[in-house]
């Protein structure tokens, strides 16, 4: 395992697609870390990193992993490359922050978790919703007993999925083809957005005992673009989870109904033009502040041996197992 001193943590960013760029920009804002290298197959993406002052750029991430002066990597590659890249990084002795979902299926996920253990590196999976202030407050109210025992919950994560406008709202963003191939993604909206909501609900309500799903095909894809899940928890609560890629608007939220009270929390993006202006000015738009907080948490976790890992690989693997169960237990 690498020994990290009080110096800045040296980070590499692997994958500079949409979320990779969000992570890159956020890494540059961290006081206790600095980005020393980036890797992407696209030279255009590498130019983007170069404009932000990253000097060591690679079209092959394996060359980045050979850098001795590198403590940890942020991996934001397509899902089908998660296992291969994360395991290689871990075997190279690098700590790893991996974008969600952990992998395409639990078998791949388990290989990543095992590699982290075997190589004694720190490993965290990116779940920014765990750092959204509204959800953190809801968790605090739940733990303080204000809501009593939760009987019913509702979770929703409905967005445009990969079919995004650019930030200024009038120009559509190209969709990388891997997004449209379920062999490469592991599924559709259920795995992509469902893993966020399953992770949040497990954080709020504990372990899941049963899950059933109904999958929907609004856009005639080969995979689901929306899904509803009925979830039972060991604590006795039940939840409905709705996820979808079919809307140009964003609804991300949790509602809890307990024996004493009800409460809800929603995470909303700010106006697209304001988002664009903030990006132009080099600021972090509101919607991406939780992404910044999760990276900051990762850097602290790597630098401090006594820091708890709130987003462990094991936790993400359990999310993936639940999602796999949901795919298996479909209500026709």
């Amino acid at each position: 395992m690498l020994v990290i001193n009080m110096e800045k943590l040296k980070l590499g960013v692997i994958g500079l697609g949409f979320i990779g760029k969000v992570h890159l920009r956020n890494c540059l804002k961290l006081k206790s870390a600095r980005v020393v290298a980036a890797a992407d197959k696209s030279k255009k993406a590498l130019n983007y990193a170069n404009e932000f002052g990253v000097k060591q750029l690679f079209t092959d991430y394996q060359k980045l992993l050979k850098l001795k002066d590198l403590d940890a990597v942020i991996i934001a590659l397509p899902t089908y490359l998660h296992a291969e890249c994360a395991i290689r990084a871990m075997e190279a002795g690098k700590h790893v922050f991996l974008e969600k979902p952990l992998a395409r299926n639990p078998r791949e996920g388990w290989k990543i978790v095992s590699a982290a253990r075997r190589n004694c590196v720190k490993f965290m999976v990116g779940y920014p919703l765990r750092f959204v202030p509204e959800f953190v407050r809801l968790k605090s109210r739940l733990e303080s007993g204000f809501l009593g025992d939760i009987q019913l919950a509702y979770a929703v994560n409905i967005t445009a999925g990969p079919f995004l406008h650019r930030a200024e709202s009038t120009i559509p963003r190209p969709v990388p083809e891997w997004w449209l191939n379920k062999e490469l993604t592991g599924g559709g909206a259920l795995i992509d957005l469902g893993c966020h909501m399953i992770n949040l609900l497990r954080w709020f309500l504990g372990e899941i005992s049963d899950i059933k799903s109904r999958l929907g095909y609004h856009f005639n894809f080969d995979f689901e673009d929306y899904a509803t899940c009925i979830v039972d928890f060991k604590c006795g609560a039940s939840a409905i989870v709705n996820v979808g890629w079919f809307s140009q608007d964003t609804a991300i939220g949790i509602e809890l109904h307990g024996s004493i009270g009800h409460d809800r929390a929603y995470h909303s993006p700010s106006n697209k033009i304001i988002t664009a202006i903030k990006l132009l000015l080099g600021k972090t738009p509101k919607f991406y502040i939780p992404h910044l907080k999760e990276l900051s948490y990762f850097v602290d976790y790597v630098k401090n041996d006594d820091k708890e890992n709130r987003l462990s690989g094991e936790d993400a693997l359990r999310d993936l197992e639940v999602i796999a169960e949901a795919y298996k237990n479909q209500i026709r």
Partner: protein, 296 residues
Amino acid sequence: MSLVGLVECRDRNVNSVKKSVKEALKLIDYSFPRAKKIVIKPNMCYYWDYSTGQTTDPNFVAALIEMFREEISPDVEISIVESDASAMKCKYVFKYLGYEKLAKEYDVKLVNLSEVEAEKATVKVEGEVFEFSVPKIIKYADLRVNVPKMKYMSFTKISAALKNIFGCNPYPRKFRYHSEIDKVIVALNKIMPFNLHVLDGLTVCGAKTLRLGLVMASRDPVATDAVAATIMGVNPKSVAHLKLAEREGLGKIEFAVKGGDLDYFRRRFPRKSISEKVLAFGYRVACKLGLDKRII
């Protein structure tokens, strides 16, 4: 002055749309030509379906297919065309927007213009020579029908009939044309002139999406766009590609509306607020200064 027919259509079912389109064509004294091969070019700019107002409703195209088979011949060969673009691939968009289902149901061809035979051709716009590949399926069609949407667009102010023909350029990486977009739009319309323009304004994408229930028809793409711009609250004479198209002889900005009340549609169209216009202007300036590279 060119004639533009406006008809209100509150329902998107195929029969209602067909009736409205026929009415709009009657308003402009349109007589159906003899044709064996018809090409229909809807707007399929991205993976957003008709409900967003961004792409042509497949029911609208179905109505046109039924109408041509009734009015021209049941055996007329109809092709629906689109080309790959920087942000969109036909092989996905045909399926996701419901055109694969439509093609099967109506026995029409779906053609990706980026994958078919084409001939090189040159055209002059304001003295500048442009060369494009012209798909043979368009060049040798007996009737070319443009079925655009109407929407705001940051680079061109508006997108309607003329801009929709930008999608007939088979070259997929269309982003490269954005620096000369006005001339390129006009060049493509000159090199691939369409005979009839039937605008799908059932659902429109203005500042917000709205079910406007409009069917518009004209033989003149410039007049079609001038009416669309007027409804959208944009002075047609402030739209660079419209002025250029008129100068290049593609049609007339001056129009005569027949049928529906232009003011009725203009009042209802979801226009941009002043603050949205200011912010959009600021964004355009940032793009010109090259700062947009910072946007993810």
